[in-house]
């Protein structure tokens, strides 16, 4: 990449502790510099505004994922794992895998999960009744997805904490080799062999989503190895992200009691749109990379073949060029069009399951809990590409008659 004089550059490091202390301030700074900003430290292009983020995500042939969605270029550097055939793949192979998966993750199939999710949500909320204060991450946001989602996939193993460790490896592994990277990769070998073992056909519950992926092998759409990799994608992309979304949802409602009141007036109608606003306001997967396949122009910058672009979806979701009062959490707003689940061919394949998890857990809370209040400072998890809470000290007041 050549530095071009008319394209702004910045010394800001989006993978630093300073950035994480105020990500939205830093994103606003980048957006104000321009639509495409050269990040000096990494020699990559940052794209912090909505329009360019959408443009990149709509053009997978120009801006590919197969060279990795992290900082390192998988065509030049050895990856720490066998690349994902969804996340880190391009058409036409990606299309075949995605098509097979679309036959498993149908809306009808996902609706069948509702009863089990609702039942579990009741139990989780029941468990809070005797507690005057608790950690909203440890008691609500973490256990619920860690139970219901791997159950839906058909994971049989009990030591599910490994899923959290693997999720961190995937998402923090997209950053540079900083302290976070080194820490999460410390047990990479054991965790990787654990997850590989869980993705085998024999390890999965018959009839679960994982087993249904293997059924596409019998129909000739995928081979065994591809099926195992797809299930690995489910288990790595669907846990930490949802935990973070639920945790920040609780924080948003603790910080905005009027918005909680609004949702509680009609939870069955309002909780799903409110969750979209949570995703816009606090996108769990904040940013990732694409790689340019050929020389091109993007908003006045000349992008060379092989250049990495940082797609800042969380920043796009707060771009005042696209949203009215983006810094305001407004559960009554239509947040449709947010890019927290991405856009285009790589849009999150599990997004309807995530929505169902949020609807069932937050919906149960909305019916039974009048107030969610902070009892201490929330603690954010240091992470390279995700944003979410490690601890959230809360107290809740039950609704009358609940």
């Amino acid at each position: 990449m050549n530095a071009v004089s008319n394209v702004p550059s910045s010394s800001l490091d989006p993978f630093s502790a300073e950035y994480r202390a105020d990500p939205y301030g830093s994103q606003a700074e980048l957006r104000s510099l321009g639509p495409v900003v050269r990040l000096e430290k990494y020699d990559v292009w940052a794209c912090p505004r909505y329009d360019e983020v959408m443009e990149i995500l709509r053009l997978p042939e120009q801006f590919r994922s197969g060279a990795g969605v992290g900082l390192s270029d998988l065509t030049r550097e050895k990856h720490w794992r066998k690349p994902s055939i969804l996340l880190e793949n391009d058409p036409p192979h990606h299309t075949r895998v995605r098509n097979a998966l679309n036959k498993v993750l149908t809306a009808r199939n996902i609706r069948r999960l509702r009863d089990a999710f609702e039942e579990r949500a009741v139990t989780v909320v029941d468990g809070l009744a005797s507690k005057s204060s608790f950690d909203g991450v440890a008691e609500l946001a973490r256990p619920f997805p860690l139970d219901v989602f791997p159950d839906a996939v058909g994971l049989t193993a009990d030591d599910r904490e490994n899923l959290l460790a693997y999720g961190r490896m995937v998402f923090d592994g997209m950053g540079p080799r900083n302290e976070i990277w080194e820490e999460v990769m410390e047990h990479a070998e054991e965790v990787t062999s654990w997850i590989t073992a869980q993705c085998r056909r024999e390890a999965l519950t018959p009839g679960g989503l994982g087993d249904q992926v293997y059924a596409t092998v019998d129909e000739g759409q995928l081979d065994e190895e591809e099926a195992a990799l797809v299930i690995r994608s489910f288990l790595s992309a669907g846990v930490d992200t949802t935990i973070f979304a639920l945790g920040t949802a609780l924080l948003c409602f603790a910080n905005n009691p009027d918005q909680w009141d609004y949702v509680r007036e009609d939870p069955s109608k309002r909780i799903r749109p409110a969750f979209e606003e949570v995703l816009r306001y606090e996108s769990p997967f904040q940013m990732y990379f694409r790689t340019s396949t050929k020389r091109t122009e993007l908003a006045g910058a000349t992008i060379e073949e092989g250049d990495k672009l940082l797609v800042m979806v969380a920043s796009a979701n707060r771009d005042p060029g696209h949203w009215d009062e983006p810094e305001r959490f407004d559960a009554s707003r239509s947040a449709v069009g947010h890019v927290a689940f991405g856009h285009g061919i790589h849009t999150c394949v599990g997004q309807m399951i995530a929505r169902l998890e949020a609807e069932t857990l937050l919906g149960e809370l909305a019916r039974r809990v009048e107030r969610i209040e902070l009892t201490g400072e929330p603690v954010w998890q240091p992470a390279n590409t995700l944003r979410g809470l490690a601890e959230l000290p809360l107290t809740i007041s039950p609704a009358r008659g609940a």
Partner: protein, 107 residues
């Protein structure tokens, strides 16, 4: 501009001028028309922007992809021969007027 008439399950009508390049779903969501949810933002993941098109308009609309057809089979409301996902109905200048009906439920 295309003049799009949205009729809800109660028979109430809303009319919007939709510019070329914008989908019937996106216009409805932007203008707060109840009856179209569009949860996934037009990515063929949710089937919550289901509409019934006027048979007279059907041939003039963008062709249906296999993915759209598959999603429609899973829509909550009744699947009819005129069913479409409105996120795939992107307007163009040669379309003067389009009528769609919205089902009573999307989720």
């Amino acid at each position: 501009m295309t003049k799009v008439t949205y009729t809800d399950a109660q028979g109430q009508q809303h009319v919007l001028d939709v510019s070329a390049g914008t989908s019937i779903m996106a216009a409805a969501v932007t203008h707060g028309i109840d009856g179209i949810v569009g949860e996934c933002g037009g990515n063929l993941m949710c089937a919550t922007c289901h509409v019934y098109v006027d048979p007279r308009d059907a041939d003039r609309l963008p062709e249906m992809s296999d993915d759209e057809e598959a999603m429609l089979e899973d829509a909550v409301a009744e699947h009819r021969p005129t069913s479409r996902l409105s996120c795939q109905l992107v307007m163009s200048d040669d379309l003067e007027e389009i009528h769609v009906e919205m089902p009573s439920e999307q989720l």
